[in-house]
Assembly symmetry: C2
Homo-oligomer: 459 residues x 2
């Protein structure tokens, strides 16, 4: 008899403790299918108290815990991976933490449970006349807790600042089972260390987020969406700057390239977006009231590439243009198991990085599909070809980004995938300080071991 | 011979090591004159390396260190206070860390040393067509490092989010003398714990900030500034919401009351701002281009209290209106040593808090001058009358704020002043987690002991 399982069943009820591999498969394999590993069990607590009980029990049994939201992560941070076979982790699924309070319209805030999906949160905010400032392609599955743990970016990051900027406070369970809660939503609040901000982006290694107090924004319907062809990423950088200078209220600026477009069109059966073909494409969305439409269209049309752009001003037209960008992920996955490399760098470095990228990829025998949130200097390099467990291409691309002053993780996080490469973006002193914080808050290392901070070699 | 002083003189040169009380007085007494204490010395390093050397030497000698910026703090967080007489602290003045890099106009960012003043930073940004998103009355003296350590708010907080929202990364010296540096300015950067955000608001207890990478905003000149009379704080809350709904681009909304206005007029020799007297006043500033002026004036004049408002559209007129608000602090200090209580709460609670405040103050024999950043729910309660060392009124006002769901520190921080009352705003589990982080990063407790976290009683 497994004493831990008995304890966990006592907390959540046996029906929310899964041990059969037929039932746990969806929790132990990640979305890319690149990361997977055995789990001791999957436990699905329904309240903060149950999460605290689960963590307390795991701490008592020294059982590692992998917190999981919608399991849409791309770096193996939410699934068991390379776990020691003698002590496989407990997967703690937070999807049943579905608390969703009414929108506080005076403050423009809402409290949401970790298991609420981004799509649910956005719809909830919308009904009250507000918008949640994060959106991403996986919004039907990605959760509040998971996006906080990974500090998810998404297409609205340049407008609203990404997940970190939305978080006014969190409720979380620490490694000892204690609950820290700061959901009061006071905008001006300087009362000691911001533990909530420390949790943002910590990838489940410091605590399990159970709820958050989130900022909302007055609803800002898109006015016009446009798709323009460009000669490549350098022209895209210039064009996005021109668009930002020409009109206010830019919600998003996205970039993709001809090979990705070809995959998307084939996979989704879509027509060509423009009469001519181009090496690269820029998708931009601008907010404003209908009174601005004519003025904005005129201001934008001064820029030559936009004169040939496809422009949408209604929901159906917008969705049709966005599909070319948003369906990249599924189209790529339909081709095989991609290496998904998520880097960012100063805008001034993007063109040179892109120029050197093809050679680096070619050496690995792969082919690259490049797209991303160009307004934030963030490109997703998807590589098809190399075997899932072959890290050579990951190493090469991340080192190239670092050589251009870039970050090896723009918005996906470090996970298992990049833990051993963290030194490319952070100094030894920074990593040492991170380990100090981790060890202090989780001395037995039960929270998501191996994620973000690589296991230290003992000699 | 004091071996520590010899070590410090070797690092900064003897001319930047002050021990004579005639020289150290300006560093050992705070701006309010309420907090003061003996210092072993004042040391003024001029580079990050010198700061690291100073901290390493202090760590070796187990000497407590009080980091100090412009010494404009109001809670005793930047001066020695109630220090043990047998081991008075070293005051580390960061004012000589005056690095100020050129503005990166492509990214809208700048790197600034901890000793750069907010006024210098704002002027530097302005020359490049940008604005730094924080401004406060003490901007001539308050520094980048000090405002990061305290997460300063100020009048632009409702527009740009306060200091935390400007910080892309920091360089800081930790308690062991190691330097963590993250000044790359990558907007999309999810590579582990955000140590910079952990430093923001930590009041010098986790590290000494030496420089920061800061976000800037496209310059947004004020279009119109207005001062309106209101019946009190409840009407001010309603009016600020109406202004925010009527026009975009609200930069600031400030509130003050008749007793404070009377003090300011007497102290500064100013005329009455409006033909009639009112119990309260609302100052609002709106950005926009000149083309918006007529439209905005029309939209705002629909609200009755604004029909009688005084409106300024040029720099001199704006300065004249702002003087009524900004000169509160000096006018109050000219009357005596005030208790400066800085609280915030949900906007829905402000009126009830204000209604109960006078009775609470009256019981202490004091008189209250109330003003603040009402758009952020932040009011400054200044109390004249009670002796500086008498904490009764502080206790009473902070407890009243907490009873209304408020924060006992909106933007000033906790310092020495409120360390013993931190439990009013944070739970035991939160305070325990803060202590865990503090102890891990500063095991000997040399960084700003007694600030933020009260000394634990040993039994």
């Amino acid at each position: 008899v497994d004493a831990l399982l008995a304890d966990l069943a006592g907390i959540t009820g046996g029906e929310h403790l899964l041990t059969d591999q037929d039932m746990t498969g969806g929790y132990t394999t990640d979305w890319t299918r690149r990361y997977r590993g055995p789990a001791r069990c999957v436990v699905r607590p329904a309240s903060t108290e149950e999460v605290a009980g689960v963590i307390e029990a795991c701490a008592r049994h020294k059982a590692p815990v992998v917190p999981q939201g919608g399991n849409t992560g791309l770096v193996g941070g939410g699934v068991p991976y390379r776990a020691r076979q003698d002590n496989p982790p407990v997967v703690l699924s937070a999807r049943r933490l579905t608390r969703l309070d009414p929108v506080d319209t005076l403050s423009g805030q809402v409290t949401a449970g970790a298991g609420v999906t981004i799509a649910e949160l956005r719809a909830h905010a919308s009904r009250a006349g507000f918008e949640y400032g994060v959106d991403l392609a996986s919004h039907q599955a990605a959760t509040v807790g998971g996006t906080i743990a990974t500090n998810a970016g998404g297409v609205l990051k340049m407008r609203y600042g990404g997940t970190r900027a939305q978080v006014l406070g969190v409720e979380a369970v620490l490694a000892d089972g204690s609950v820290i809660s700061h959901l009061g939503g006071i905008e001006a609040d300087n009362t000691g260390y911001d533990l909530g901000q420390l949790m943002v982006g910590s990838e489940g290694t410091l605590g399990v987020v159970t709820a958050a107090r989130l900022r909302l924004w007055p609803a800002e319907p898109p006015l016009l969406t446009l798709l323009a062809g460009v000669g490549g990423i350098e022209e895209a950088v210039t064009l996005q700057a021109a668009i930002r200078a020409a009109v206010p209220g830019i919600r998003a600026v996205e970039y993709f390239e001809a090979p990705g477009l070809a995959l998307v069109r084939r996979h989704a059966g879509l027509p060509a977006p423009l009469p001519e073909d181009y090496p690269g494409y820029l998708l931009a969305e601008v907010a404003g009231s209908e009174g601005n439409a004519e003025d904005y269209a005129e201001r934008l049309s001064v820029t030559p590439p936009l004169q040939k752009a496809s422009v949408a001003m209604d929901a159906a037209g917008r969705a049709a243009l966005w599909a070319y960008r948003e369906r990249h992920t599924e189209a790529i996955s339909a081709e095989g198991i991609p290496h998904k490399l998520d880097v960012a760098m100063p805008l001034s470095q993007l063109a040179q990085f892109r120029a050197e990228l093809d050679e680096v990829i070619a050496k690995t025998g792969g082919r690259a599909i490049v797209f991303g949130h160009i307004g934030a200097g963030n490109v997703h390099v998807n590589v098809l070809g190399p075997a899932p467990q072959d890290d050579a291409v990951d190493n090469a691309v991340l080192r190239l980004a670092a050589a251009h002053g870039g970050s090896i993780s723009a918005e996906h996080g470090i996970g298992h995938a990049k833990a051993a490469l963290l030194h490319l973006s952070r100094t030894p002193a920074e990593i040492a300080a991170m380990r100090t914080v981790k060890t202090a808050l989780d001395p037995d290392g039960i929270l998501n071991p191996g994620v973000l901070l690589a296991p230290q070699e003992s000699k």
